[in-house]
Symmetry: C2
Subunit: 199 residues, 2 copies
DNA sequence: GTCTATATCCGGATAGAC
DNA sequence: GTCTATCCGGATATAGAC
């Protein structure tokens, strides 16, 4: 196999996953047909089925990309020298670019919500989502632990607090996906006030 | 129309919605077929289509019931004499029976998640969900307002805080639906600690 | 009012030409 | 490697008997 082919294959896969992500963001997993994905990708049925065996595989692929993006950003953030506190972490997570990378929130929030919903039933997606959430809990728990060790006493268990912070982001995504409320900036400000009062 | 017929009709509708709710909780809206609902209800296709014009109508009906249950419980709670504070409200909302009425959380959480996901795209479900979330925000905002007026100073805006509390419940539902974590009791305890520290 | 049987349509996946 | 045409299964909704 020549080198070109590998790069080509990767690009095609990416092209298909991006197209599928757009469709899924608009219509959800089950309401989008393969014809939609094929059309959005500008390819033919035969080409798409060469790279993915089934619609299921594409769904899993898109879910994987969504989580990978979120996790990468968070890893970078907590890896800095100064351990961030609850307020900083919440603040960072609620920033739209950190949740939604390239895609606009209006598209990304429903997509993320679809992935969670799918994860509650589809075993493969569940495995991906479950692994990522577990990793996020550990990551945040460790960061908070370091933060407390660095001289910030706190009455709450860092690992429990990690789940709470994740909830705050998930809840925001749910509400924003449904009625576009509350405004991100106000939400950020309230979380900061909450955590600074609790410290 | 004789009286019996009205009661009969209501009972049939309820029978169908309950059966549909069970199916949706297991497989989600789009993966359950009308045949599934018909079988679970123990009726025939003709009978079901006599009470609901389409699958869409059934979905909307189930979504409406889900929200009605949650709202009724909350209304009862905030209507008591002593205005509840953030810790009390969060505590109440996280109790499984208050979220999940009859159904077990393991069934109800994925169902609720499906409803939210559907609400992000289906205009009719969105209208129902949006109205309920808006009402919950107002309801909680008013309760918190009364609580602050009753001598509990708080740095945060009550209306903003309402959205935050709703998020905390929504996030719990998402996480529980995906991997059954965190344990409800621990989560409740952490929220109580958080809000009591912040007061 | 309720059931059975079915018309009709649509979506996923494949086969074979180029 | 890619495209076109097509097949097959299954799902929704209806028609008509009882």
């Amino acid at each position: 196999m020549p080198k070109v082919t590998d790069a080509h294959r990767a690009a095609r896969r990416e092209q298909i996953l991006t197209a599928a992500g757009n469709c899924f963001a608009r219509k959800g997993f089950h309401a989008t047909s393969m014809a939609d994905v094929i059309g959005e990708a500008g390819l033919s049925a035969g080409a798409v089925y060469l790279y993915f065996r089934s619609k299921e595989e594409i769904i899993v692929g898109v879910a994987g990309e969504v989580f990978a993006g979120i996790e990468a950003r968070l890893l970078e953030f907590v890896g800095r020298d100064e351990p961030p506190g609850p307020a900083d972490i919440a603040d960072f997570l609620v920033q739209q670019p950190s949740i939604a990378r390239q895609r606009a929130p209006a598209d990304f929030f429903p997509l993320l919500l679809s992935v969670w919903s799918e994860a509650s039933r589809n075993p493969t997606v569940n495995a991906v989502a479950g692994r990522v959430i577990a990793e996020l809990r550990v990551l945040l728990g460790q960061a908070l632990h370091r933060w407390m060790d660095a001289g910030h006493p706190c009455a709450m268990d860092p690992d429990q607090l990690a789940s709470v912070i994740i909830s705050l982001v998930q809840g925001l995504v749910v509400q924003q996906a449904i009625d576009g409320q509350p405004p991100l900036e106000q939400y950020r400000a309230t979380l900061r006030a909450l955590f600074e009062a609790a410290q």
